[in-house]
Symmetry: C2
Subunit: 254 residues, 2 copies
Protein backbone atom coordinates (compact mmCIF):
# COMPACT_ATOMS: atom_id res chain seq x y z
CA UNK A 1 0.00 0.00 0.00
CA UNK A 2 1.17 3.54 -0.78
CA UNK A 3 0.06 6.60 1.13
CA UNK A 4 -0.62 9.60 -1.08
CA UNK A 5 -0.96 13.21 0.03
CA UNK A 6 -3.39 15.12 -2.18
CA UNK A 7 -3.80 18.89 -2.35
CA UNK A 8 -7.19 19.94 -3.65
CA UNK A 9 -8.77 23.24 -4.74
CA UNK A 10 -12.53 23.53 -5.02
CA UNK A 11 -15.35 25.95 -5.60
CA UNK A 12 -17.76 24.80 -2.90
CA UNK A 13 -20.80 26.67 -4.27
CA UNK A 14 -22.57 23.60 -5.62
CA UNK A 15 -21.48 21.13 -2.91
CA UNK A 16 -22.92 20.00 0.42
CA UNK A 17 -19.47 20.48 1.99
CA UNK A 18 -16.39 18.29 2.20
CA UNK A 19 -17.60 15.29 4.07
CA UNK A 20 -19.80 12.43 2.89
CA UNK A 21 -22.94 12.64 5.00
CA UNK A 22 -23.35 9.99 7.67
CA UNK A 23 -26.11 7.42 7.09
CA UNK A 24 -25.72 8.17 3.43
CA UNK A 25 -23.51 6.10 1.20
CA UNK A 26 -22.05 7.16 -2.09
CA UNK A 27 -24.80 5.55 -4.10
CA UNK A 28 -27.44 7.50 -2.24
CA UNK A 29 -25.40 10.65 -2.71
CA UNK A 30 -25.36 10.37 -6.46
CA UNK A 31 -29.16 10.51 -6.44
CA UNK A 32 -29.23 13.75 -4.49
CA UNK A 33 -28.75 17.19 -5.93
CA UNK A 34 -25.71 18.38 -4.00
CA UNK A 35 -22.75 16.01 -3.86
CA UNK A 36 -19.86 16.28 -1.37
CA UNK A 37 -16.26 17.02 -2.32
CA UNK A 38 -15.04 13.84 -0.59
CA UNK A 39 -17.61 11.70 -2.41
CA UNK A 40 -16.74 13.31 -5.74
CA UNK A 41 -13.02 12.57 -5.22
CA UNK A 42 -13.64 8.99 -4.11
CA UNK A 43 -15.76 8.31 -7.19
CA UNK A 44 -13.06 9.79 -9.45
CA UNK A 45 -10.32 7.65 -7.84
CA UNK A 46 -12.44 4.52 -8.09
CA UNK A 47 -13.01 5.23 -11.76
CA UNK A 48 -9.29 5.73 -12.50
CA UNK A 49 -7.72 3.13 -10.21
CA UNK A 50 -10.55 0.58 -10.13
CA UNK A 51 -10.19 0.32 -6.37
CA UNK A 52 -12.34 1.59 -3.49
CA UNK A 53 -10.27 4.19 -1.68
CA UNK A 54 -11.22 6.25 1.34
CA UNK A 55 -10.11 9.89 1.13
CA UNK A 56 -9.41 11.44 4.52
CA UNK A 57 -9.37 15.23 4.59
CA UNK A 58 -7.60 17.56 7.03
CA UNK A 59 -11.08 18.48 8.25
CA UNK A 60 -14.52 19.17 6.91
CA UNK A 61 -15.47 22.39 5.20
CA UNK A 62 -19.15 23.39 5.43
CA UNK A 63 -21.59 23.47 2.54
CA UNK A 64 -20.67 26.29 0.14
CA UNK A 65 -17.18 26.89 1.59
CA UNK A 66 -14.26 26.88 -0.87
CA UNK A 67 -10.68 25.61 -0.66
CA UNK A 68 -7.51 26.79 -2.32
CA UNK A 69 -5.44 23.99 -0.75
CA UNK A 70 -7.39 21.42 1.21
CA UNK A 71 -5.17 18.43 2.04
CA UNK A 72 -6.22 14.78 2.17
CA UNK A 73 -4.58 11.38 2.28
CA UNK A 74 -5.45 8.14 0.54
CA UNK A 75 -3.96 4.65 0.87
CA UNK A 76 -3.88 2.93 -2.53
CA UNK A 77 -2.68 -0.35 -3.98
CA UNK A 78 -2.08 1.10 -7.47
CA UNK A 79 1.47 1.92 -8.55
CA UNK A 80 0.39 4.65 -10.98
CA UNK A 81 2.90 7.55 -10.80
CA UNK A 82 1.62 10.66 -8.96
CA UNK A 83 1.76 12.91 -12.03
CA UNK A 84 -0.20 10.51 -14.17
CA UNK A 85 -2.79 9.94 -11.46
CA UNK A 86 -3.20 13.70 -11.01
CA UNK A 87 -3.76 14.26 -14.74
CA UNK A 88 -6.17 11.32 -14.94
CA UNK A 89 -8.18 12.52 -11.92
CA UNK A 90 -8.44 16.08 -13.26
CA UNK A 91 -9.60 14.59 -16.53
CA UNK A 92 -12.65 12.99 -14.91
CA UNK A 93 -13.35 15.46 -12.06
CA UNK A 94 -15.87 18.27 -12.60
CA UNK A 95 -14.20 21.65 -13.30
CA UNK A 96 -15.02 22.96 -9.81
CA UNK A 97 -12.82 20.35 -8.07
CA UNK A 98 -9.14 20.27 -9.06
CA UNK A 99 -6.29 18.17 -7.67
CA UNK A 100 -3.38 20.63 -7.64
CA UNK A 101 -0.78 18.19 -6.33
CA UNK A 102 -0.22 14.53 -5.45
CA UNK A 103 2.89 13.35 -3.61
CA UNK A 104 4.10 10.21 -1.84
CA UNK A 105 3.76 10.42 1.95
CA UNK A 106 5.12 8.22 4.77
CA UNK A 107 2.82 5.27 5.60
CA UNK A 108 1.90 6.89 8.92
CA UNK A 109 0.82 10.22 7.40
CA UNK A 110 -2.69 11.24 8.45
CA UNK A 111 -4.20 14.38 6.91
CA UNK A 112 -6.37 15.15 9.94
CA UNK A 113 -4.30 14.02 12.94
CA UNK A 114 -1.01 15.44 11.60
CA UNK A 115 -2.40 18.89 10.71
CA UNK A 116 -0.68 21.46 12.93
CA UNK A 117 -2.60 24.55 11.82
CA UNK A 118 -5.07 25.81 9.24
CA UNK A 119 -5.55 29.15 7.61
CA UNK A 120 -8.90 30.45 6.41
CA UNK A 121 -9.62 33.61 4.42
CA UNK A 122 -12.91 35.50 4.44
CA UNK A 123 -13.55 38.13 1.74
CA UNK A 124 -16.11 40.91 2.10
CA UNK A 125 -16.93 43.34 -0.72
CA UNK A 126 -17.42 46.56 1.21
CA UNK A 127 -18.82 48.82 -1.50
CA UNK A 128 -21.94 49.46 -3.55
CA UNK A 129 -21.81 46.51 -5.97
CA UNK A 130 -20.50 42.96 -6.23
CA UNK A 131 -18.95 42.24 -9.64
CA UNK A 132 -20.13 39.13 -11.51
CA UNK A 133 -16.63 37.63 -11.36
CA UNK A 134 -16.46 37.68 -7.56
CA UNK A 135 -20.06 36.88 -6.71
CA UNK A 136 -19.45 33.23 -5.81
CA UNK A 137 -16.52 34.03 -3.50
CA UNK A 138 -17.46 37.08 -1.44
CA UNK A 139 -19.99 38.35 1.08
CA UNK A 140 -21.48 41.76 0.33
CA UNK A 141 -21.65 44.45 3.04
CA UNK A 142 -22.60 47.79 1.49
CA UNK A 143 -22.46 49.93 4.65
CA UNK A 144 -18.97 51.21 5.56
CA UNK A 145 -17.02 49.04 8.00
CA UNK A 146 -14.63 50.56 10.56
CA UNK A 147 -11.52 48.43 10.09
CA UNK A 148 -9.85 49.99 13.17
CA UNK A 149 -12.62 48.79 15.49
CA UNK A 150 -12.56 45.36 13.88
CA UNK A 151 -8.78 44.99 14.29
CA UNK A 152 -8.87 46.05 17.93
CA UNK A 153 -11.54 43.48 18.83
CA UNK A 154 -10.01 40.75 16.62
CA UNK A 155 -6.77 40.92 18.62
CA UNK A 156 -8.67 39.53 21.62
CA UNK A 157 -9.05 36.22 19.78
CA UNK A 158 -5.30 35.53 19.72
CA UNK A 159 -4.12 32.73 21.99
CA UNK A 160 -5.83 29.72 23.55
CA UNK A 161 -9.51 30.21 24.36
CA UNK A 162 -12.78 28.33 24.67
CA UNK A 163 -14.58 29.17 21.41
CA UNK A 164 -17.80 27.37 22.40
CA UNK A 165 -19.95 30.47 21.79
CA UNK A 166 -19.05 30.43 18.07
CA UNK A 167 -19.84 26.71 17.72
CA UNK A 168 -23.29 27.16 16.28
CA UNK A 169 -24.54 23.59 15.76
CA UNK A 170 -26.02 20.53 17.38
CA UNK A 171 -22.84 18.49 16.83
CA UNK A 172 -21.20 17.44 20.10
CA UNK A 173 -17.54 18.33 20.51
CA UNK A 174 -15.77 17.28 23.69
CA UNK A 175 -13.16 20.00 23.65
CA UNK A 176 -14.05 23.48 22.40
CA UNK A 177 -10.70 25.08 23.21
CA UNK A 178 -8.60 26.16 20.24
CA UNK A 179 -5.50 28.30 19.72
CA UNK A 180 -5.72 31.23 17.29
CA UNK A 181 -2.17 32.02 16.15
CA UNK A 182 -2.83 34.90 13.74
CA UNK A 183 -5.62 37.16 12.61
CA UNK A 184 -5.12 39.88 9.98
CA UNK A 185 -7.68 42.26 8.54
CA UNK A 186 -6.76 44.37 5.52
CA UNK A 187 -8.37 46.45 2.80
CA UNK A 188 -7.64 45.36 -0.75
CA UNK A 189 -9.35 47.67 -3.21
CA UNK A 190 -13.10 47.47 -2.56
CA UNK A 191 -12.60 44.34 -0.45
CA UNK A 192 -11.96 43.63 3.19
CA UNK A 193 -9.90 40.47 3.63
CA UNK A 194 -9.82 38.61 6.95
CA UNK A 195 -7.12 35.94 7.41
CA UNK A 196 -7.30 33.71 10.47
CA UNK A 197 -4.95 30.91 11.45
CA UNK A 198 -5.54 28.45 14.28
CA UNK A 199 -4.54 25.03 15.57
CA UNK A 200 -8.01 23.93 14.53
CA UNK A 201 -11.50 25.30 14.05
CA UNK A 202 -14.94 24.39 15.38
CA UNK A 203 -17.92 24.07 13.05
CA UNK A 204 -18.99 27.63 11.95
CA UNK A 205 -16.25 29.15 14.12
CA UNK A 206 -14.74 31.38 11.41
CA UNK A 207 -18.13 32.46 10.12
CA UNK A 208 -19.32 33.28 13.66
CA UNK A 209 -16.19 35.33 14.28
CA UNK A 210 -16.58 37.16 10.95
CA UNK A 211 -20.27 37.84 11.59
CA UNK A 212 -19.36 39.33 14.95
CA UNK A 213 -16.53 41.39 13.41
CA UNK A 214 -18.93 42.77 10.80
CA UNK A 215 -21.34 43.88 13.56
CA UNK A 216 -18.36 45.48 15.32
CA UNK A 217 -17.26 47.22 12.10
CA UNK A 218 -20.77 48.66 11.71
CA UNK A 219 -20.43 49.96 15.26
CA UNK A 220 -23.34 47.80 16.43
CA UNK A 221 -21.43 46.32 19.41
CA UNK A 222 -19.84 47.85 22.47
CA UNK A 223 -16.03 47.76 22.87
CA UNK A 224 -14.93 44.60 24.65
CA UNK A 225 -17.46 42.40 22.85
CA UNK A 226 -14.94 39.72 21.81
CA UNK A 227 -13.40 39.45 25.27
CA UNK A 228 -16.91 39.22 26.76
CA UNK A 229 -17.89 36.42 24.35
CA UNK A 230 -14.75 34.43 25.19
CA UNK A 231 -15.23 34.92 28.92
CA UNK A 232 -18.97 34.34 29.21
CA UNK A 233 -19.29 31.87 26.25
CA UNK A 234 -22.61 33.64 25.69
CA UNK A 235 -23.87 32.76 22.23
CA UNK A 236 -26.33 35.66 22.22
CA UNK A 237 -23.47 38.15 21.93
CA UNK A 238 -22.19 36.51 18.73
CA UNK A 239 -23.18 38.18 15.42
CA UNK A 240 -25.11 36.34 12.71
CA UNK A 241 -23.06 33.57 11.07
CA UNK A 242 -21.50 35.09 7.92
CA UNK A 243 -22.46 33.27 4.69
CA UNK A 244 -20.32 30.34 3.48
CA UNK A 245 -19.65 31.87 0.08
CA UNK A 246 -17.05 34.34 1.41
CA UNK A 247 -14.96 31.65 3.11
CA UNK A 248 -11.95 29.76 1.68
CA UNK A 249 -9.63 27.22 3.34
CA UNK A 250 -6.31 28.64 2.16
CA UNK A 251 -3.68 26.40 3.71
CA UNK A 252 -3.08 23.41 5.99
CA UNK A 253 0.23 23.31 7.87
CA UNK A 254 1.92 19.97 8.73
Amino acid sequence: MRTLKLTIAYDGTDYAGWQIQEKRNQKAESRRQRPTIQGTLERAIRRILQERVRIVGSGRTDAGVHALAQVAHARVRSSMPCRRLQAALNGVLPADVVVTRIEEAPPSFHARFDAKAKRYRYVIVNGPVVLPFERRYVHHVSVPLDIGLMRREAKMLLGRHDFRAFHNTGRQVSNTRRTVTAIHIRRQGRCLVIDIEASGFLYTMVRGIVGTLIDIGRDHRPPGTMAAILNTKDRRRVGPTAPARGLTLVNVVY
Copy 2:
Protein backbone atom coordinates in the same frame (compact mmCIF):
# COMPACT_ATOMS: atom_id res chain seq x y z
CA MET B 1 -36.03 62.66 -22.77
CA ARG B 2 -32.87 62.06 -20.74
CA THR B 3 -29.78 60.34 -22.05
CA LEU B 4 -28.19 57.96 -19.57
CA LYS B 5 -24.69 56.51 -19.77
CA LEU B 6 -24.54 53.04 -18.22
CA THR B 7 -21.42 51.12 -17.25
CA ILE B 8 -21.98 47.38 -17.08
CA ALA B 9 -19.94 44.39 -15.86
CA TYR B 10 -20.88 40.90 -16.95
CA ASP B 11 -19.80 37.30 -16.86
CA GLY B 12 -20.49 36.33 -20.47
CA THR B 13 -20.24 32.57 -19.91
CA ASP B 14 -23.98 31.91 -20.17
CA TYR B 15 -24.79 34.53 -22.80
CA ALA B 16 -24.96 34.56 -26.59
CA GLY B 17 -22.94 37.80 -26.58
CA TRP B 18 -23.89 41.45 -26.16
CA GLN B 19 -26.17 42.07 -29.07
CA ILE B 20 -29.77 40.97 -29.59
CA GLN B 21 -29.69 38.67 -32.59
CA GLU B 22 -31.14 40.04 -35.82
CA LYS B 23 -34.44 38.48 -36.97
CA ARG B 24 -35.03 37.58 -33.37
CA ASN B 25 -37.04 39.81 -31.10
CA GLN B 26 -36.92 39.84 -27.34
CA LYS B 27 -39.91 37.55 -27.00
CA ALA B 28 -38.25 34.93 -29.15
CA GLU B 29 -35.07 35.35 -27.15
CA SER B 30 -36.73 34.52 -23.88
CA ARG B 31 -37.71 31.12 -25.28
CA ARG B 32 -34.12 30.27 -26.22
CA GLN B 33 -31.48 28.93 -23.91
CA ARG B 34 -28.86 31.63 -24.13
CA PRO B 35 -30.02 35.22 -23.76
CA THR B 36 -28.02 38.29 -24.82
CA ILE B 37 -26.68 40.93 -22.44
CA GLN B 38 -28.46 43.70 -24.33
CA GLY B 39 -31.77 41.85 -24.22
CA THR B 40 -31.36 41.11 -20.52
CA LEU B 41 -30.73 44.81 -19.78
CA GLU B 42 -33.65 45.98 -21.92
CA ARG B 43 -36.02 43.60 -20.15
CA ALA B 44 -34.79 44.81 -16.74
CA ILE B 45 -35.27 48.47 -17.72
CA ARG B 46 -38.73 47.80 -19.10
CA ARG B 47 -39.67 46.08 -15.85
CA ILE B 48 -38.41 48.95 -13.67
CA LEU B 49 -39.39 51.99 -15.78
CA GLN B 50 -42.41 50.52 -17.57
CA GLU B 51 -41.10 51.89 -20.85
CA ARG B 52 -39.54 50.25 -23.88
CA VAL B 53 -35.98 51.47 -24.06
CA ARG B 54 -33.29 50.60 -26.57
CA ILE B 55 -29.86 50.06 -25.03
CA VAL B 56 -27.01 50.92 -27.39
CA GLY B 57 -23.63 49.45 -26.46
CA SER B 58 -20.14 50.69 -27.38
CA GLY B 59 -19.89 47.58 -29.51
CA ARG B 60 -20.77 43.95 -29.44
CA THR B 61 -18.88 41.38 -27.44
CA ASP B 62 -18.96 37.82 -28.76
CA ALA B 63 -20.70 34.89 -27.09
CA GLY B 64 -18.88 33.97 -23.87
CA VAL B 65 -16.78 37.16 -23.71
CA HIS B 66 -16.86 39.10 -20.42
CA ALA B 67 -16.88 42.82 -19.60
CA LEU B 68 -15.53 44.71 -16.64
CA ALA B 69 -16.80 48.05 -17.96
CA GLN B 70 -18.90 47.86 -21.11
CA VAL B 71 -20.57 51.23 -21.80
CA ALA B 72 -24.03 51.80 -23.23
CA HIS B 73 -26.50 54.63 -23.60
CA ALA B 74 -30.26 54.73 -23.21
CA ARG B 75 -32.76 57.51 -23.85
CA VAL B 76 -35.53 57.40 -21.22
CA ARG B 77 -38.62 59.40 -20.30
CA SER B 78 -38.49 58.46 -16.61
CA SER B 79 -37.13 60.99 -14.10
CA MET B 80 -35.97 58.31 -11.64
CA PRO B 81 -32.61 59.39 -10.13
CA CYS B 82 -29.57 57.49 -11.45
CA ARG B 83 -28.69 55.94 -8.08
CA ARG B 84 -32.19 54.61 -7.53
CA LEU B 85 -32.42 53.27 -11.06
CA GLN B 86 -29.07 51.52 -10.66
CA ALA B 87 -30.16 49.85 -7.40
CA ALA B 88 -33.52 48.85 -8.89
CA LEU B 89 -31.90 47.37 -12.02
CA ASN B 90 -29.35 45.39 -10.01
CA GLY B 91 -32.25 44.12 -7.93
CA VAL B 92 -33.92 42.50 -10.93
CA LEU B 93 -30.89 41.62 -13.09
CA PRO B 94 -29.33 38.14 -12.81
CA ALA B 95 -26.13 38.08 -10.69
CA ASP B 96 -23.90 37.71 -13.76
CA VAL B 97 -24.91 41.13 -15.15
CA VAL B 98 -24.28 44.16 -12.91
CA VAL B 99 -24.78 47.86 -13.63
CA THR B 100 -21.76 49.43 -11.93
CA ARG B 101 -22.66 53.05 -12.75
CA ILE B 102 -25.38 55.23 -14.26
CA GLU B 103 -24.81 58.90 -15.04
CA GLU B 104 -26.56 61.68 -16.96
CA ALA B 105 -25.04 62.28 -20.42
CA PRO B 106 -25.50 65.07 -22.99
CA PRO B 107 -28.46 64.43 -25.35
CA SER B 108 -26.05 63.82 -28.23
CA PHE B 109 -24.02 61.14 -26.43
CA HIS B 110 -23.74 57.93 -28.41
CA ALA B 111 -22.01 54.94 -26.79
CA ARG B 112 -20.81 53.50 -30.10
CA PHE B 113 -20.07 56.54 -32.30
CA ASP B 114 -18.36 58.52 -29.52
CA ALA B 115 -16.08 55.70 -28.35
CA LYS B 116 -12.46 56.74 -29.04
CA ALA B 117 -10.75 53.53 -27.94
CA LYS B 118 -11.34 50.20 -26.24
CA ARG B 119 -9.14 48.02 -24.11
CA TYR B 120 -9.42 44.24 -23.97
CA ARG B 121 -7.61 41.84 -21.67
CA TYR B 122 -6.89 38.20 -22.42
CA VAL B 123 -5.79 35.90 -19.58
CA ILE B 124 -3.95 32.62 -20.16
CA VAL B 125 -3.14 30.21 -17.34
CA ASN B 126 0.30 28.97 -18.40
CA GLY B 127 0.85 26.15 -15.93
CA PRO B 128 -0.26 22.62 -15.13
CA VAL B 129 -3.74 23.29 -13.69
CA VAL B 130 -6.58 25.79 -13.88
CA LEU B 131 -8.04 26.59 -10.44
CA PRO B 132 -11.81 26.31 -10.02
CA PHE B 133 -12.07 30.03 -9.22
CA GLU B 134 -10.56 31.14 -12.51
CA ARG B 135 -11.99 28.49 -14.82
CA ARG B 136 -14.68 30.75 -16.34
CA TYR B 137 -12.23 33.58 -17.10
CA VAL B 138 -9.05 32.06 -18.49
CA HIS B 139 -7.72 29.97 -21.34
CA HIS B 140 -5.43 27.09 -20.39
CA VAL B 141 -2.10 26.56 -22.15
CA SER B 142 -0.04 24.00 -20.27
CA VAL B 143 3.09 24.05 -22.49
CA PRO B 144 5.58 26.84 -21.64
CA LEU B 145 5.16 30.06 -23.65
CA ASP B 146 8.16 32.20 -24.64
CA ILE B 147 7.01 35.68 -23.61
CA GLY B 148 10.02 37.30 -25.30
CA LEU B 149 9.05 35.93 -28.73
CA MET B 150 5.44 36.95 -28.15
CA ARG B 151 6.38 40.53 -27.22
CA ARG B 152 8.67 40.95 -30.21
CA GLU B 153 5.95 39.87 -32.66
CA ALA B 154 3.17 41.73 -30.84
CA LYS B 155 5.02 45.04 -31.37
CA MET B 156 4.38 44.68 -35.11
CA LEU B 157 0.66 45.20 -34.47
CA LEU B 158 1.13 48.76 -33.18
CA GLY B 159 -0.16 51.50 -35.47
CA ARG B 160 -2.70 51.59 -38.29
CA HIS B 161 -3.04 48.36 -40.26
CA ASP B 162 -5.53 46.32 -42.24
CA PHE B 163 -6.53 43.57 -39.78
CA ARG B 164 -8.69 41.71 -42.33
CA ALA B 165 -6.82 38.43 -41.81
CA PHE B 166 -8.00 38.28 -38.17
CA HIS B 167 -11.63 38.97 -39.10
CA ASN B 168 -12.79 35.40 -39.00
CA THR B 169 -16.47 35.59 -39.94
CA GLY B 170 -19.00 35.91 -42.71
CA ARG B 171 -20.07 39.40 -41.57
CA GLN B 172 -19.29 42.09 -44.12
CA VAL B 173 -17.28 45.07 -42.89
CA SER B 174 -16.48 47.87 -45.35
CA ASN B 175 -13.33 49.05 -43.62
CA THR B 176 -11.02 46.56 -41.93
CA ARG B 177 -8.31 49.08 -41.01
CA ARG B 178 -7.89 49.72 -37.28
CA THR B 179 -5.29 51.47 -35.10
CA VAL B 180 -3.70 49.50 -32.27
CA THR B 181 -2.40 52.02 -29.72
CA ALA B 182 -0.98 49.68 -27.08
CA ILE B 183 -0.22 46.01 -26.52
CA HIS B 184 1.31 44.70 -23.32
CA ILE B 185 2.12 41.12 -22.37
CA ARG B 186 3.11 40.33 -18.80
CA ARG B 187 3.43 37.38 -16.44
CA GLN B 188 1.33 37.57 -13.29
CA GLY B 189 1.95 34.50 -11.15
CA ARG B 190 0.94 31.44 -13.20
CA CYS B 191 -0.89 33.68 -15.68
CA LEU B 192 0.05 35.45 -18.87
CA VAL B 193 -1.97 38.64 -19.30
CA ILE B 194 -2.31 40.31 -22.70
CA ASP B 195 -3.72 43.87 -22.79
CA ILE B 196 -4.57 45.39 -26.14
CA GLU B 197 -5.96 48.83 -26.86
CA ALA B 198 -7.24 50.00 -30.23
CA SER B 199 -9.48 52.58 -31.89
CA GLY B 200 -11.84 49.70 -32.54
CA PHE B 201 -11.83 45.97 -33.09
CA LEU B 202 -13.13 43.65 -35.78
CA TYR B 203 -15.14 40.56 -34.90
CA THR B 204 -12.74 37.90 -33.39
CA MET B 205 -9.77 40.26 -33.94
CA VAL B 206 -8.41 40.00 -30.37
CA ARG B 207 -8.93 36.25 -30.22
CA GLY B 208 -7.24 35.79 -33.60
CA ILE B 209 -4.28 37.90 -32.46
CA VAL B 210 -4.05 35.97 -29.17
CA GLY B 211 -4.29 32.60 -30.93
CA THR B 212 -1.42 33.66 -33.22
CA LEU B 213 0.63 34.94 -30.26
CA ILE B 214 0.15 31.60 -28.48
CA ASP B 215 1.47 29.76 -31.54
CA ILE B 216 4.41 32.17 -31.58
CA GLY B 217 5.02 31.63 -27.85
CA ARG B 218 5.15 27.86 -28.46
CA ASP B 219 7.71 28.53 -31.18
CA HIS B 220 5.41 27.14 -33.84
CA ARG B 221 5.77 30.17 -36.15
CA PRO B 222 8.74 31.73 -37.89
CA PRO B 223 9.92 35.23 -36.85
CA GLY B 224 8.12 37.93 -38.82
CA THR B 225 4.79 36.12 -38.74
CA MET B 226 2.77 39.14 -37.55
CA ALA B 227 4.28 41.48 -40.13
CA ALA B 228 3.63 38.87 -42.83
CA ILE B 229 -0.01 38.52 -41.78
CA LEU B 230 -0.55 42.28 -41.87
CA ASN B 231 1.17 42.60 -45.25
CA THR B 232 -0.34 39.62 -47.03
CA LYS B 233 -3.72 39.58 -45.18
CA ASP B 234 -3.34 35.81 -45.46
CA ARG B 235 -5.78 34.17 -43.08
CA ARG B 236 -3.94 30.83 -43.23
CA ARG B 237 -1.02 32.30 -41.29
CA VAL B 238 -3.30 33.26 -38.37
CA GLY B 239 -3.38 30.89 -35.36
CA PRO B 240 -6.57 29.22 -34.14
CA THR B 241 -9.05 31.72 -32.62
CA ALA B 242 -8.43 31.69 -28.84
CA PRO B 243 -11.54 30.76 -26.80
CA ALA B 244 -13.94 33.50 -25.68
CA ARG B 245 -13.69 32.61 -22.00
CA GLY B 246 -10.26 34.26 -21.57
CA LEU B 247 -11.38 37.61 -23.00
CA THR B 248 -12.71 40.64 -21.09
CA LEU B 249 -13.64 44.11 -22.36
CA VAL B 250 -11.87 46.16 -19.70
CA ASN B 251 -12.48 49.77 -20.66
CA VAL B 252 -14.07 52.08 -23.23
CA VAL B 253 -12.51 55.53 -23.69
CA TYR B 254 -14.62 58.57 -24.69
